[in-house]
Chain length 462, copies 2
């Protein structure tokens, strides 16, 4: 067994410098959805390229029609070592509403919170802090050994929070350069603060926007109320009827391709002791709202959903206006599991909505992306090695879990490059990613670096 | 019988000057809901006071905590003549969205439209054009006879479109000055372009705003979807279930105080030949949406409703955001008929909503006004005189109808001053009041003036 202590000691003593680099990256407001921050996205990519080149990678900014990719290569110490593609994203979510932030989202700092040290700022957890755990692990290897144990290709994306529009064309155009034995993706969370996790099942996603039009203008509800169609009524009825009384989604064919989770997997999840109270308690709730009779882990990892992400219609300003709106619209997403087909779900939803539109009203649909669910093998050697390495670093043994969110890149790697992905991340459930006051535990960052040191060593061995 | 021809001829020959005065008033953007137009509301009031004083009224601007009232008095030619309070409002609705206007809303003009001449601009129909039909009728009397046949008190309000906040206190403080034998209110529509109408039943109104809060922050729908309560789902279910499959409102006790319309009244409405196609066709619809098995006239005049006037929750901007919102809210109004009690309806709605909020979520209510329905006597002498006078002026006989909208002032006159109101107006269903491209038919204005000349004459007689 390799003695990893010099590498781990190096990571420990370099933590202040590692943090300073994270701060530099977080200070760049690389919000990919907002064109006003285009130059900042470019700047974040260039910052990463410089860091990787300084580390001995051959790194470059690669233009796309959207925000650029960062690609970097580094050979392994041994010719026999495997080749891993490491993926992360440097773009971040918007910060609105800004008034809910306790600290400037782009002025990162170390803060004491609930007795722990946390790193504050947009992107500290999703995904800048996470991707730097890997970069800093490589830095420790280079500093101590002068080499890396695994051949590494790095791919950093700048459009993960805005639909990854350029990703597929880029993978397709650079297939030979990017293909490796497997991918490492660091964009996920731990089970809890003591228990690292590897995600082996990820839900897919279908996004749809619908706009219902009734009258050809906004109407006075006194003159027309009771006789004229109200598109908000039509819409609320359609959305309400998407779920039955047991919480199941009512769309015809929706559960085609959905298998019951194997009982041994369910049992392992049950043994984690995550109750509705503890899971939902983090966000001020306590009662599971979805399908009845299933645990919160099963609901969020292994069951499909229909969710209204936004709705608007009529007068929504201050005060009151007795209008019947001409239009009402909603953004709806479906989380998919197993073999659910995104195209079929979209078609079923559109048919369901269309069938409920009165003959004198109309509906328009707008597509917002779709990707199938991913189910990785629970017993691959790569997964087993990583599981053991993580278990050495953290107080508790690593667990293999499901994930509620979709990471479309994992599907793209599988479909386009024939690679499975190992999903290892050090986020926490209270990191408030996508919300005001995002943070990353200092411990996640520090032990994340140490974890990658261990995983890279394990992966290098047969 | 009085020979009204000199008075009618005077109205005819003065029409260009009458129109010029209407244009002057419409040019003042007296939008009462928007504080930016406060000075314009004051200016409109002052303009009216000057006009009335020039006509021989004793008129003054009367300050309120909101926009001012205009009050004016004029004696009758005979001591025996009745005393009428004439009510109108000089404030107008906002004009957004401005880009949908074909013409500047505050630069009135005569335009040829569908073969008819119309007066374009915000407030031409609601209510500046209407109130000036009465003022110009008085002007004809003064010019020809030097006197008025009826004792007149004028009350012009500047907050009708913004909740009439100052009205009740003003009526209360000036009860002795404002009380008359009956009120004349000119803020309603004709049956059609040939048939004048008197409104004898008006629906009441209850306005409520509800805000449902679930989690203590917006959530990522991947991490929490399927387990965490989505307030948009709760809200859409509550709103959808406000109506049953027959279109009836489901609130407990909602139909208490609602009587079936007498069959002879229903028959007279049916004989008007207004079909769903003709009524709804004006606004691009064709299928009645409310309670099944009732005519559109019954639905809008004599049946109570629940209507969602606005809804908002989650992400409603461009593109897509996979959030589960922390909050969702809706503005809901109920149109009341018969003896429905606004306070009981509000309580029933709040109890219904509260009972459907999961234990870990909460709801807040915000009240937006309430007024009971009004039912006037179908056979009062004032109504009969006005009906005959209108029938003399227009191609077809006047009809006594119901009205879908509430005019709270009518209830206030009844409750606070003990006066019934005669509701006569010359609007048309396609006047687009409260919408872009409001207009008033030139014929409505011209024959409206002539109508008041006839009505005042009729009212003066025993």
């Amino acid at each position: 067994m390799t003695d990893l202590s010099p590498l781990l000691a190096k990571a420990d003593e370099s933590l202040p410098q590692s943090l300073e680099r994270l701060f530099e990256l977080v200070r760049i407001p690389s919000i990919s959805t907002d064109p006003a921050f285009k130059a900042d996205c470019q700047r974040a990519a260039e910052w990463l390229v410089k860091e990787l080149n300084d580390l001995g990678f051959t790194a470059s900014v690669r233009d796309t029609p959207g925000h650029p990719m960062v690609v970097a290569h580094h050979a392994a110490a041994s010719e026999d070592a495997p080749h891993a593609l490491f993926y992360g994203h440097y773009d971040v979510q918007p910060v609105d509403p800004l008034n809910l932030w306790e600290d400037d989202p782009f002025a990162p700092a170390i803060k004491e919170k609930d007795g722990r040290k946390v790193i504050t700022g947009r992107g500290t957890s999703d995904d800048k802090g996470q991707l730097l755990t890997f970069v800093e692990a490589c830095r420790a290897y280079k500093a101590v050994n002068g080499s890396l144990p695994v051949r590494i290709t790095v791919l950093f994306e700048g459009e993960e929070e805005s639909g990854s529009t350029s990703l597929k064309p880029f993978l397709s155009a650079n297939e030979a350069e990017l293909k490796a034995d497997f991918a490492l993706v660091c964009d996920t969370s731990m089970w809890d603060r003591e228990t690292p996790a590897i995600a082996a099942a990820l839900r897919g996603l279908v996004g749809e926007e619908i706009t219902i039009t009734a009258a050809d203008r906004d109407l006075h509800s006194g003159l027309f109320g009771g006789a004229a169609a109200n598109p908000v009524h039509i819409l609320t009825r359609i959305l309400a009827d998407l779920h039955d009384e047991t919480g199941k989604v009512t769309l015809p064919g929706f559960y085609e391709g959905v298998e019951e989770t194997p009982s041994n997997i369910k049992a392992s999840w049950d043994s984690l002791g995550r109750t509705a109270e503890s899971f939902l308690g983090e966000v001020g709730l306590s009662i599971p709202s979805g399908e009845k009779g299933r645990s919160v882990l099963e609901l969020t990892w292994a069951r499909p959903t229909a969710e209204v992400n936004g709705i608007i219609g009529g007068y929504t300003g201050e005060g009151f206006k007795t209008v019947i709106a001409a239009k009402a619209s909603a953004k709806v997403s479906f989380r998919l599991v197993g073999d659910q087909d995104p195209a079929k779900i979209r078609d079923s939803f559109r048919a369901y909505v269309t069938s409920r539109i009165p003959a004198d009203c109309s509906v328009e649909f707008h597509e917002h992306g779709g990707s199938p669910a991913i189910q990785l093998s629970y017993d691959s050697p790569v997964l087993t090695k990583a599981k053991n390495a993580l278990s050495d670093e953290w107080p508790k043994a690593a667990v293999v879990i499901g994930m509620g969110g979709s990471i479309p890149i994992v599907g793209d790697f599988q479909k386009m490059l024939g690679m499975d992905s190992l999903l290892v991340g050090f986020g926490q459930v209270d990191d408030r990613i996508h919300s005001p006051n995002e943070k990353y535990d200092l411990n996640s960052f520090h032990k994340g670096i140490r974890s990658w040191i261990r995983i890279l060593d394990a992966l290098a061995k047969n």
